[in-house]
């Protein structure tokens, strides 16, 4: 059967996926993510798997489809649904526009890829998603778009806006840019460079040597019902299939295909002049690969890695977020986004794809560096220097494709306490300058901070009530003192439920016919 059309099908599907996912990260109007994100992200393997493991809900079953798909047709996921895979294909495509590229079969990096997969799995079983965080292809694609391309889009938007502004046209509004997180930016740049280099020179090398999802699905595809194989009766031994194989998994001479490395791009179907290569039901094909080498070695490597990471884990102490002056703000716990339940749940399940960061209208969500510790590197945190959490907003919980941030409704969000307000009297304007201020109380949505007369200075000074504080950080953001804030939010390791503020109806009976008091 001539299946050459599958290549075009693959190209179309892949474009739909990469564009819709990229759109989520590029949208500057903050209008599409909330309603649209679940569709293209439903099938992203790692986020879906994490969601399923911790929630067990229907929304987390996307990975099962991927498993079934792989068991039927091999790793077609890698060439259609995975945005990082498609990004590599785009690089290869552009390269071919410059100069023709010929691949030839290479040996698999069996030891490397299974070692990496095992490390990632073991790290996850030990309770950290660090391995997934660093290597998950979807999350890396997310970071690349949100840390590198999104700032460029913001720049273009703001330039357009300022040009129009000169003509008193205000149809495009500028988006305030809160700066880039250096570590996430550099990591994304390095990762993108690696991807470009690999795909430019070696096709899908990343997917077949590093990517844990690729390795896992590759392992699974050994047991696929349909496999791609060479039909000896049709094959004219031209060797064209080998030269177009991005995964370098076709050995045309021996007519052998390492299906665990095949990403299902169907370029070979397309080029074959004689329908000599096609899907073949498994029971017809006995040619299986034979690499069982050195499993012992990678167990050793894993052991060393885990020991090392335990030592680094212990080295984490309190984080000082502002530089020294009168009273530095010492936060013993970072603040995780609403819906993340606890720091532990969040750091365990977050793969740092940064979609919530790209979707956050107030931009309070920013990539962390070491605030969550080394194992939580680049995972988003509430950064109250950049903004504060809108009282009525639940977008991050709606877009999160994994279970790091669990969907919450607007009413319950208003009582989720991310952290508790802490007041540093010695930094406060009311006491240091002896003047009125009230910026913190002004912004507080629950009046967990309010201004009450302090006879000591004969001014209204902030009084805090932790019980009704939701930890949104509005007070901290608004506090005008420099360099340290006089009020801040101490993160809750486990999110709490805040009490609702008391409502007292004013008993004013107003006579609208009464004379004016002046």
């Amino acid at each position: 059967m001539n299946l050459a059309f599958l290549k075009n099908v693959r190209v179309i599907i892949s474009i739909v996926f990469i564009l819709s996912i990229a759109l989520l990260f590029f949208d500057l109007s903050f209008s599409i993510q909330e309603s649209f994100s679940e569709y293209p992200l439903f099938l992203q393997f790692i986020p879906s798997l994490l969601k399923y493991i911790s929630l067990g809900t229907l929304a987390g079953t996307g990975f099962i489809f991927v498993l079934l798909l792989t068991l039927l047709f091999g790793r077609v996921y890698c060439s259609t649904i995975c945005p990082l895979g498609v990004l590599q294909d785009i690089v290869s495509y552009l390269r071919r526009k410059i100069r023709k590229q010929y691949f030839s079969q290479t040996k698999p990096f069996t030891k490397t890829r299974y070692s990496i997969l095992l490390i990632v799995i073991l790290l996850f079983l030990f309770g950290t998603s660090l391995g997934l965080n660093l290597l998950d292809p979807y999350s890396n694609f997310g970071r690349i778009t949100s840390n590198i391309f999104r700032p460029i889009i913001i720049g273009i938007n703001n330039t357009a806006s300022s040009v129009l502004e000169n003509f008193n046209l205000y149809s495009i509004s500028p988006l305030e840019f809160k700066g880039i997180n250096i570590f996430s930016f550099i990591f994304s740049i390095l990762f993108l460079s690696l991807i470009i280099w690999f795909s430019f020179s070696y096709g899908r090398l990343f997917c077949n040597s590093i990517c844990p999802v690729g390795t896992f699905l590759g392992f699974l595809s050994k047991y696929s019902f349909f496999k791609i194989g060479i039909i000896e009766s049709n094959c004219i031994e031209c060797g064209d299939c080998e030269t177009v194989c991005k995964s370098s998994c076709i050995e045309s001479e021996s007519k052998n295909i390492d299906f665990s490395r095949c990403v299902g791009c169907f370029n070979c179907f397309d080029i074959c002049p004689s329908i000599g290569i096609s899907y073949i039901p498994r029971y017809k094909n006995d040619k299986s690969d034979n690499h069982h080498s050195s499993k012992r070695n990678f167990f050793k490597n894993v052991g060393i890695f885990i020991l090392g990471s335990q030592i680094i884990l212990k080295a984490q102490e309190k984080i000082e977020i502002y530089k020294k002056n009168t009273v530095p703000v010492l936060r013993s716990s970072p603040v995780s986004p609403p819906g993340s339940i606890s720091i532990e749940n969040f750091t365990d399940n977050c793969t740092a794809c940064h979609l919530c960061i790209a979707s956050c209208p107030t931009q309070v969500l920013q990539p962390s560096f070491l605030e969550y510790g080394l194992l939580g590197i680049m995972q988003p945190r509430m950064d109250y220097k950049s903004g504060y959490c809108n009282f009525d907003c639940t977008i991050c919980s709606d877009v999160c494709p994994s279970s790091a941030i669990i969907s919450i409704n607007q009413e319950s969000k208003k009582t989720i306490q991310l952290g508790e307000v802490k007041f540093i009297k010695d930094n406060c304007v009311v006491y240091t300058q002896k003047t009125d201020c009230g910026a913190c109380a002004e912004h507080c949505p629950t009046k967990a901070v309010k201004m009450e007369l302090d006879v000591e200075v004969n001014l209204k000074a902030p009084i805090t009530d932790e019980k009704i504080c939701v930890g949104c950080g509005a007070c901290e953001f608004a506090c005008p003192t420099i360099p340290y804030k006089a009020i801040y939010v101490e993160g809750n390791v486990i999110h709490q439920i805040a009490e609702k503020p008391k409502e007292e109806k004013l008993e004013d009976v107003i006579d609208h016919k009464e004379e004016f008091p002046f």
Partner: protein, 307 residues
């Protein structure tokens, strides 16, 4: 037209809309209603109606909008849209009132009517949740973002005591007519938020004000440029937990409105309406000392209308 020209134009046209004298380049001329012989009243206080109908009656008493907006002029309206809350919470200016003012401006021949605020909460949410965006658009006006520092230009305030310089939204500098439409409400830091406090939303760096004697900075700013008209929305008034409020329980229905060219007079009258004495509000007293306007209401010609 460059910024300097805009600047000049706005101070001249804005401060004395029907005077064609060319003032010298001192931008600090204080608009004072008493120099304005065309007005019968210095201040109009009205109560008992809806926000839009009260404005119709009040502006009529000041000679109609034609007295403020001339043909082909550009108008900037600055409501309070600081918070992502619904109109019933009264944390923002009443949307109907803003819509009605936009209509009056166009009826007087305004070329463009712009509305903006440098909001506290996310600006898009504030614009839509407050209901102001819809009313303005329906009336043909333009909502302009105030969320980007690039819109703000550096100005000097030579007569300010603590606030010597700041950055101000370009529309305030460029528009011919500036209409300030605050909502009267309780305020944790400044005691009350009225007309002068509302002008914190035309500058970029508010934290500077909070750090450097809030009351003095609020009083200093109007020595730079006063609005041509202040319309104090006291229809629904947040009596406590201001300026954001916690629930509708914080709000009482005063169904009142105060309009005046004199920003200090407008604030003083609104303060009395709230139930406080203007002398208790430091920024009103400070502004009076700087001769920004008249806080002694007994010295003003006031039109009191009860519908």
């Amino acid at each position: 037209m460059n910024r300097r020209e805009f600047f000049k134009k706005s101070s001249v046209a804005g401060l004395a809309a029907y005077s064609y004298f060319s003032f010298d380049s001192n931008f600090n001329i204080l608009a004072n209603s008493k120099t304005n012989t065309n007005d019968v009243y210095d201040l109009v206080a009205i109560k008992g109606g809806e926000p839009d109908s009260m404005f119709d009656a009040a502006i009529k008493s000041l000679g109609g909008m034609n007295n403020f907006v001339k043909k082909n002029q550009t108008v900037v309206i600055k409501p309070n849209i600081g918070w992502d809350t619904v109109p019933e919470r009264a944390a923002n200016t009443n949307p109907k009132l803003i819509g009605q003012i936009v209509k009056h401006c166009f009826n007087s021949g305004a070329k463009d009517v712009y509305v903006f605020d440098h909001t506290c909460d996310n600006w898009k949410n504030c614009y839509s949740t407050s209901g102001i965006e819809k009313e303005v658009k329906d009336a043909g006006g333009t909502m302009v973002p105030g969320n980007s520092e690039s819109y703000y230009q550096a100005v000097e305030i030579p007569n300010g005591k603590r606030l010597k310089k700041t950055t101000v939204h370009e529309l305030i500098l460029e528009s011919d007519v500036f209409i300030n439409v605050p909502v009267l409400k309780d305020h944790g830091g400044a005691r009350l938020s009225i007309s002068m406090k509302n002008l914190m939303g035309v500058v970029w760096d508010r934290r500077y004000w909070h750090r450097n004697d809030l009351h003095q900075c609020i009083a200093d700013y109007p020595t730079f440029r006063q609005p041509d008209l202040n319309v104090v929305d006291a229809y629904a008034v947040m009596k406590k937990n201001g300026p954001r409020g916690v629930s509708e329980a914080d709000v009482v229905q005063l169904k009142s409105q105060i309009i005046s060219r004199d920003i200090v007079a407008a604030d003083a009258a609104a303060t009395k309406l709230f139930g406080l004495d203007p002398i208790e509000i430091d920024y009103i007293a400070n502004a009076s000392k700087l001769n920004v306007g008249q806080m002694d209401l007994s010295k003003l010609k006031i039109d009191r209308i009860i519908l």
